[in-house]
């Protein structure tokens, strides 16, 4: 440990960030004990190359401040959109620092105050950031113990900590609180040597179920989301929107809109907006703005997109390969050829994209609903052509993200408008704008050929995914001859997708899992083997086997070959490092095509579980949300015109849909934590497809499994 540094900038972690920045930072933060830790590289935290963070990252890495009242403040660039890091990160800090849950305050998503972060996505908050946060807390505790030892004049080995009070074990009256150590001081401490984090056996708070930390604020209406701020002089904005993503603005006529008293019209290139202090008035004005557009739409729609994709001449990349497909084919007794297709899917959070932008001196402050405050800050700065230091992004509570708020177009728009208007500007997208500018889960085609020998062993696996990405496309099953190909992954093919696409809760994985688990089910049925037995027979992956067995136990599964008429489906898979399996029972109305999911039992191996309650809620949430893209959700479009514009035509799960849900979290507290916000959702399409097959003998290949599609499939049985 290094000696105390007061008002001196020793051991600057980053050679990049100038000292002046640190000074202004401290001015902003006030007194207390600051613990900086630089023992980890934030770039390691990222699942993807974090090129943008490089020059921003290593200075104020995740850090902690102990206030004079003993409150431990944790600072994180993560944001809270419902998945619960607001609770689990507090648990981690409290446990490592030996304070109570209530002695921790978490400050999230403020680019001036919090350490750089790539974004809240990919189920990374616990499995990567949380680990670093714990390490930081362990460092903070070591610093406090050192200070306590100096204060109490006893060696550290003689000290213990209870609820933020450092106590001399030999003299209980010789004690000092964290808050007392911080009083009247501004201390920076740095750690050279990384103290160990606690072992699971020492956990008092981690691993125990905790209810949401933010619940009281949210049930009283006091929780502040972006739209709930209202600075003096704020104007609401509505922006002129094109009819299609292919449209180019030719001319605008705002004469009629300007007749509304108090309306201001602003223009900047393609950006045309109306502003007023009342929301009603901008709603009234925007429809009076007349515009002409040019531009040709792509000749593709929701019906033709899949053929369009297959004919796009996409190049494939090998994701995984073993053995030789021709050999696999030659030793197969039976071959199975399937094609699975799915539509564009919307994120549809209940809070639409919102942003409030205003000037503070020469700085632009943007509050916004985004999962990625730091990338937003950079892009706002480039859009306004100002240095990024002149931009501060603050993310309050976010009303649902699911990947869709990784995008932040609305924040750039609000920032541009506040500069044009010279007033604070609030932009809350309408539901129609939300559907139009959503970065949809991409449509896809998966072609899958597989082979089976006469012993019920899978001999060959030829998996090809088009335009949606390969996440979750792992074969998992023990197949000697296999190849997985991905054709133009993700966003790299703007000529195929007529609008933007992006991450949607476990991107690509639900599609790939659907294809794999359906195909396995098809083969199990053809082989006349119970689908669980068939899976176990073809699996070597111990983690998948364990979750399958745990889910089967919870469900009370009785083997039978499919279709058994019982309506029971099975699926397993992995996402974000977590292994997951589920069993479901459905009831199918063969006259109407209505599918009611009766119950789901789901088991998850996520390594160390920080908050079992939060995990259960996430598993339930994944299962319920997953019913939507399984059964109804589909974005309709003609070229760049998105014709789905409302919840009345885009059906998301409702109360009457929800099955009974039972969950099992496998006890793996000694293993590293994995993701929890996404895994269970990847199972739902395959799980329900297999259950429908078991109920009716009808195989559903395409998403969503609408009543019409099911009735058509039933005719083929």
């Amino acid at each position: 440990m290094k000696k105390e540094n007061t008002n001196k900038t020793a051991n600057l972690v980053s050679p990049v960030r100038p000292e002046i920045k640190r000074r202004s930072f401290f001015k902003l933060m006030g007194g207390g004990i600051f613990i900086f830790f630089n023992t980890w590289d934030p770039l390691e935290l990222m699942a993807s190359p974090a090129k943008k963070g490089k020059d921003d990252a290593p200075d104020f890495n995740a850090f902690i401040r102990i206030d004079e009242n003993g409150i431990v403040n944790g600072f994180t660039g993560k944001i809270e959109m419902g998945q619960g890091p607001v609770t689990s990160l507090v648990q981690e800090l409290a446990d490592e620092l030996d304070v109570t849950f209530d002695q921790v305050n978490l400050l999230m998503g403020d680019t001036d105050l919090c350490p750089w972060d790539d974004g809240t996505w990919g189920s990374l908050s616990t499995r990567f950031f949380g680990e670093a946060f714990r390490a930081a807390a362990a460092e903070a505790r070591a610093v406090l113990m050192q200070l306590g030892s100096e204060k109490l004049q006893v060696p550290i080995s003689q000290l213990e900590v209870k609820e933020g009070v450092i106590i001399d074990k030999n003299n209980q009256n010789n004690r000092v609180t964290y808050g007392q150590l911080a009083r009247g001081k501004k201390i920076e401490r740095y750690m050279d040597k990384k103290p160990p984090v606690k072992s699971p056996a020492e956990f008092k708070i981690i691993g125990k179920p905790h209810f949401r930390h933010d619940a009281r604020l949210k049930v009283t209406g006091q929780a502040k989301y972006t739209g709930d701020f209202h600075p003096e002089g704020m104007l609401y904005a509505r922006i002129l929107r094109p009819p299609s993503h292919a449209s180019k603005l030719v001319s605008v006529n705002t004469a009629e809109a300007e007749k509304i008293p108090g309306i201001r019209v602003v223009r900047d290139g393609d950006l045309a907006a109306v502003l007023h202090e009342l929301r009603d008035k901008v709603d009234e004005a925007i429809v009076k703005v007349k515009a002409e557009y040019s531009g040709d739409d792509m000749k593709v729609d929701d019906k033709t997109i899949h053929d369009y994709m297959l004919n796009a001449g996409a190049k494939g990349d090998i994701v995984d390969e073993a053995g030789d497909l021709a050999t696999g084919k030659s030793i197969s007794k039976t071959m199975f050829t399937s094609q699975y297709r799915g539509p564009y899917v919307a994120h549809a959070p209940i809070e639409t994209h919102s942003a409030l932008a205003y000037m503070e001196g020469d700085r632009v402050i943007v509050r916004g609903s985004t999962q990625t405050p730091y990338p937003a800050k950079e892009d706002i700065a480039s859009a306004l052509k100002i240095p990024k230091e002149k931009v501060r992004v603050i993310v309050p509570f976010v009303g649902g993200g699911f990947g869709g708020k990784s995008a932040y177009q609305q924040m750039i728009e609000a920032a541009r408008l506040t500069r044009l208007a010279g007033k604070p500007v609030m932009l809350i997208w309408t539901r129609k704008e939300e559907f139009f500018y959503d970065v949809f889960r991409p449509a896809y085609v998966i072609k899958l050929n597989s082979g089976l020998d006469s012993n019920g062993k899978i001999t060959m696996w030829d998996f090809n995914v088009y335009f949606a990405g390969s996440r979750g496309s792992d074969t998992f099953y023990d197949v000697p001859h296999r190849r997985t190909m991905a054709y133009d992954e993700g966003n790299s093919a703007p000529k195929v997708h007529p609008f933007f696409t992006g991450p949607w809760r476990a991107p690509a994985n639900g599609n790939n899992t659907l294809a794999r688990e359906s195909q396995v089910d098809i083969m199990a049925s053809a082989a006349g083997i119970d689908p669980l037995e068939f899976r176990l027979k073809n699996l070597k992956d111990e983690k998948l086997i364990a979750v399958l067995k745990a889910a089967a136990d919870k469900f009370g599964y009785i083997p039978a070959k499919g279709p058994s008429g019982r309506g029971i489906g099975i699926a397993c898979g992995s996402d974000a490092g977590t292994y997951v399996a589920a069993f479901a029972e459905v009831k199918v109305d063969k006259n109407t095509g209505h599918v009611q999911v009766i119950r789901v039992a789901c088991a998850q191996d996520m390594g160390m579980c920080v908050n079992p309650q939060g995990t259960k809620i996430q598993m339930d949430g994944c299962i319920i949300m997953g019913l939507g893209y399984t059964l109804t959700e589909e974005v309709l479009f003609t070229g760049g015109k998105v014709t789905t514009q409302s919840f009345s035509t885009y059906e998301i799960p409702r109360f009457s849909w929800v099955p009974k849900i039972e969950t099992v979290i496998l006890d793996r507290q000694n293993e590293p934590p994995q993701g929890g916000g996404e895994p269970a959702i990847v199972l739902m399409p395959g799980l329900i497809a297999n259950a429908i097959f078991d109920a009716t003998g009808a195989r559903m290949y395409d998403l969503p499994m609408t009543r019409e599609r099911l009735l058509a499939a039933l005719k083929k049985v």
Partner: protein, 156 residues
């Protein structure tokens, strides 16, 4: 043309000079600072703007403020009394019946309206009564449990 609108808001008589066509949701949020009532769709479909008007749950995003003249309006902010949470709010906390929390005020107000009409709903009646309030996070089961347990507490 502005006119004086009078109504009772969270137990207090209020009056304000307003364009009578303004939508209640935005009047509550912007004129009275009651931002617990949320904008989710503006089409009366999602239910996050639900408030209670004369004991009925109503979508405030489509309602001109003139419609509440002389009526009693209650928002999420009016549900707790002197910091004491209403049993429904308490139950939502105890059952972890929320995630992102954006639909929560509308859910609670709709549940309040439901329990006013039917103090002892069975689970099926709760499902039916809540069917048109949308939650994207999937907190449905916890919400149902919360409403069921709140109804028991409220009956005493």
């Amino acid at each position: 043309m502005e006119q004086m609108i009078h109504f009772e808001l969270n137990g207090k008589k209020v009056e304000k000079l307003l364009d009578p066509n303004l939508i209640l949701l935005w009047v509550l949020r912007d004129q009275f600072g009651l931002t617990g009532t949320k904008f989710g769709c503006g089409e009366g479909v999602c239910g996050s703007c639900t408030v209670i008007i004369d004991n009925e749950p109503v979508r405030s995003c489509l309602l001109p403020v003139s419609d509440v003249e002389g009526k009693k309006v209650m928002t999420i902010e009016g549900l707790s009394q002197n910091d004491k949470l209403h049993p429904i709010q308490q139950a939502f906390i105890q059952h972890d019946a929320l995630q992102c929390g954006f639909c929560t005020p509308g859910m609670i107000m709709n549940a309040y309206g439901l329990l006013l009409k039917n103090p002892s709903p069975d689970r099926k009646e709760i499902l039916q009564g809540m069917e048109n309030n949308l939650c994207r996070c999937g907190a449905h089961w916890q919400i149902i449990d919360a409403i069921e347990s709140a109804s028991k507490v409220m009956k005493g």
